[in-house]
Symmetry: C2
Subunit: 526 residues, 2 copies
């Protein structure tokens, strides 16, 4: 299709604003043709108002109808074929194999939520029946289930142009929960977003969804995002991106006269702890795995391992040398945009100039454009790492820092100094975890996911996944942005007391017509 560069507000497109921007091909670092129009205050308001109207109608749809919508979105995305993949590759520089995989993840997520809707038990239905004879007071009939929050603002992520963008995980889980969605497209892949939103709208029309169920706004200026989060009809926010931007949106939402939940996934440094016996037994193998994990996707995964912690001994010295050799020989890569490229270069320079930090290796690959990044590995000791908070901040890109300590207690001290993380990884030999129980317990409190003898990159989409973690990994550690449980972010319980059968949602009626798991008088039944 011909890209328009316009905002999608319900069934119409609009470009009333004067601020414009273009997508960029990061491989060549040149601007692309289509001119994108930032949404104005009026356009933002129109999209949200339409989302509110659509929400009222969408709530009335059955779970089956919502599921059909999600499935249709997946099919429409697939029907875009090469056009979507080519546009995403052009705008992000990500390799085709990765994008094919990411598209599969995107459509897989949509179908996973559709299956959850069809099965139906996610609403957490609970029933306690009346007992009019109870003394001193009769017991009422109480039935409760989850209901959708309302219109949700979804912010596309730069590093997942498909799986965490216009029709990505946040959009899919919000729609599944029964919410309408206003997407703020990421300016780093506006064309990919436009192709996707057009596919979503075709699916909405084909399955009879109300106008405005999904809208999409463009913007580079923070004002667009702030206005969207401030809008009184917006009831929740999904975001994946930097700590600075995520915290800013959280602050805006918390300062509203009606505060709303913000699910900002802001990344982390995803430490890998290598216990001494594991290092001795598998150091060489771990070095190879580490290099692959750090450089995967040019280090642009939220779960990129930015820190490796281990004991300061002879095997560690050999390990550092191996990692240095591998990273030094690794090729340079193209980052998502010049801003990210520059941040990486500046951050790497800052690390290199920090007292106590040594550059163990830097890839010799040439970097000509500001979008190009060369892998780099730093070393430091535990005391410097603990003393300087800046060393514990995320450096988004193909870099890692090896931190060494001279005792078990020192490693525990390093663990305690860490902020909240999406993941923490531990490499241990058989029985070694038990020896380091204190360390494991400290780490358990720091992360949303604990990885054993593997690497944090690669986030499985399934019911058991938790992609979240204590602040600053996210603004809400009680939730996940990946996997089936992501649906719970956009719903709240509603209890119906003594309601007549015909006025109850199907999920709560006698006879369990939806055949879902329900907690009836404290027993799970179906």
């Amino acid at each position: 299709m011909q890209l328009t560069g316009r905002n999608y507000i319900g069934a119409r497109t609009s470009q009333s604003g004067t601020r414009t921007f273009r997508g960029v091909d990061p491989v060549k670092n040149v601007e692309l043709e289509t001119l994108y129009h930032e949404a104005t205050g009026e356009e933002i308001d129109a999209a949200v108002r339409l989302a509110e109207t659509a929400f009222v109608e969408y709530r009335r749809k059955s779970s089956k109808q919502r599921a059909a919508f999600l499935i249709a979105i997946a099919a429409e995305i697939e029907a875009l074929g090469e056009e979507l993949l080519d546009r995403a590759a052009l705008e992000t520089g990500l390799p085709m194999a990765r994008l094919v995989g990411e598209r599969g993840r995107t459509t897989g997520q949509l179908r996973m939520f559709a299956a959850m809707l069809e099965e139906g038990s996610w609403v957490d239905a609970r029933i306690d029946r009346a007992n009019p004879d109870r003394k001193p007071l009769p017991k009422p009939d109480l039935r409760r289930m989850l209901q959708p929050l309302g219109p949700v603002a979804v912010f596309g992520a730069s590093n997942f142009p498909l799986a965490f963008s216009a029709a990505g995980g946040d959009t899919a889980s919000a729609l599944a929960a029964g919410c309408s969605v206003i997407v703020k497209a990421h300016p780093s892949h506006p064309g990919t977003s436009e192709l996707t939103i057009a596919a979503v709208l075709r699916a909405a029309q084909a399955t009879g969804m109300p106008e405005g169920i999904v809208s999409m706004l463009h913007g580079v200026s923070p004002e667009v995002s702030v206005a969207l989060v401030k809008h009184p009809l917006v009831k929740a926010v999904g975001f994946t991106g930097s700590l600075r931007a995520g915290r800013a949106l959280f602050d805006v939402a918390a300062a509203r006269s009606e505060p709303i939940p913000v699910y900002a996934e802001m990344g982390s440094i995803n430490p890998i702890f290598i216990l001494p016996r594991a290092m001795k037994e598998r150091g060489t193998q771990i070095a190879e795995g580490l290099k692959n994990s750090v450089t995967a996707g040019v280090g642009q995964f939220c779960t990129n391992p930015g820190v490796v912690v281990g004991m300061d001994d002879a095997t560690m010295s050999a390990f550092v040398e191996q990692v240095a050799g591998l990273m030094g020989a690794a090729p340079a890569g193209t980052m998502l945009n010049a801003g990210i490229g520059r941040s990486f270069a500046e951050g790497a320079k800052r690390f290199a100039e920090t007292a106590g930090v040594r550059v163990a290796a830097k890839s010799t690959a040439a970097t000509v454009l500001p979008t190009q990044a060369a892998p780099i590995v730093f070393t430091t000791d535990a005391d410097h790492f603990i003393a300087d908070h800046r060393l514990r901040e995320e450096l988004f890109g193909p870099a890692t820092m090896i931190v060494t300590g001279r005792s078990r207690e020192k490693l525990e001290e390093v663990a305690r100094s860490l902020d909240g993380q999406l993941t923490v990884t531990i490499h241990a030999a058989p029985g070694e975890l038990a020896e380091y129980r204190n360390l494991v317990e400290i780490l358990e409190r720091k992360a949303g996911r604990l990885v054993f003898n593997s690497y944090p990159t690669g986030v499985e989409v399934c019911a058991s996944m938790n992609h979240g973690g204590p602040y600053p990994a996210t603004t809400d550690s009680r939730s996940t942005s990946v996997g089936g449980a992501a649906i719970y972010r956009f719903a709240r319980p509603v209890c119906y007391q003594d309601f007549p059968a015909e006025a109850l949602p199907e999920e709560l009626r006698e006879g369990n017509p939806r055949h879902i798991w329900r907690l009836e008088e404290n027993e799970w039944k179906r």
Copy 2:
């Protein structure tokens, strides 16, 4: 026991501060003997640090051990016998029958959470097993469950000296989730709080719980509360009280460098909508029920119905007269403290002086002391109610306002003008709900609990209860502060990837040794 007026910090008591206050007998409006000492910054810090140390040890306790602790607390509270009830009656002016009931609710809650721990399924365990042969990438083994957040600050509520105070719902659910607790005692019943905390500490000692698992601090000044919420080791807050205080704590928590969840239940006006046919058929009966609900506990329930909405017709006029007659004849009552009494008097005066508002009746009962309140009923029309936001603010006490509209659309407009509510009640004749579908749908989005043909006061403690609702009823509509689901406020998911069996929590091991419900490969199994 002899009341000490001291702060309880782990095993010791402390009174290093110079600011003091006394409890008050609201029936006589005279100060009581014991002098209470506000916690100092050092005492707050000591209590929180001890809670952090205790948390590390408490996490290691099995669910059975935690359950034994909760059961022991219930038994110790009962063992206090008359002493606790007498002290609570003296400090709050609440009648003995009510306090006996509230004590039953308090011990019932503790035992309910103990039963949930023993059963074990609340941890929402999910398992997706490995598939090393999957292409293109092997699938890891993923197992996830809920884990406790850390030390929780619990603020006692003035209006539930037992059930939402030192060992009330927030404390019980936080301890059940595996968190340690720092109670900020409500200054309106400090002696009741001290007796209770001493009982909790006896239970902790008898069941081998770590020192500091529960501490209790006194304070009248906002500084004590603010310092507690700001403390970096505090990971969540439970609160029941006024909008002003709750919002202030929410703002403090949101502005922390690490924001934390605040579960503030701040009450609401709990509207009752009476549809025309129900009014015609049962107006007299509803008037009686309304009067009982408004005046129950001198109107000091969070679910007190502060607004009644109905069609402006002849049956409504008769209804207003009936309510006026009943409320005018209702006795005055003693409120919890002079501050609440004065707020009620001032608020009632403000309402009475507001344009478009008429005092339909005021109890003729004499009120001499500032703690005494006389029931009052106001009327106004929909347009005035909608135009003036102050009329939609909570007036805590035995008052209600009858709002009339001339059309179905006007009633919908009234519904739309409402803020978030703990409850909304609808009285309807058979089939009438369907006629008012739009209205019901609007109300469904406003409240945490919808009550049919009954009254909102009386909150059942069970799995299906939802005591929560959209802001400003609470700061977090996704949760309840009453009932089994309250435990979820203090936990977050943690995912274990490829963990060796011996390092996994029991709940996630093969063979399901805890015999709990788990979602295994997307199927609920036990």
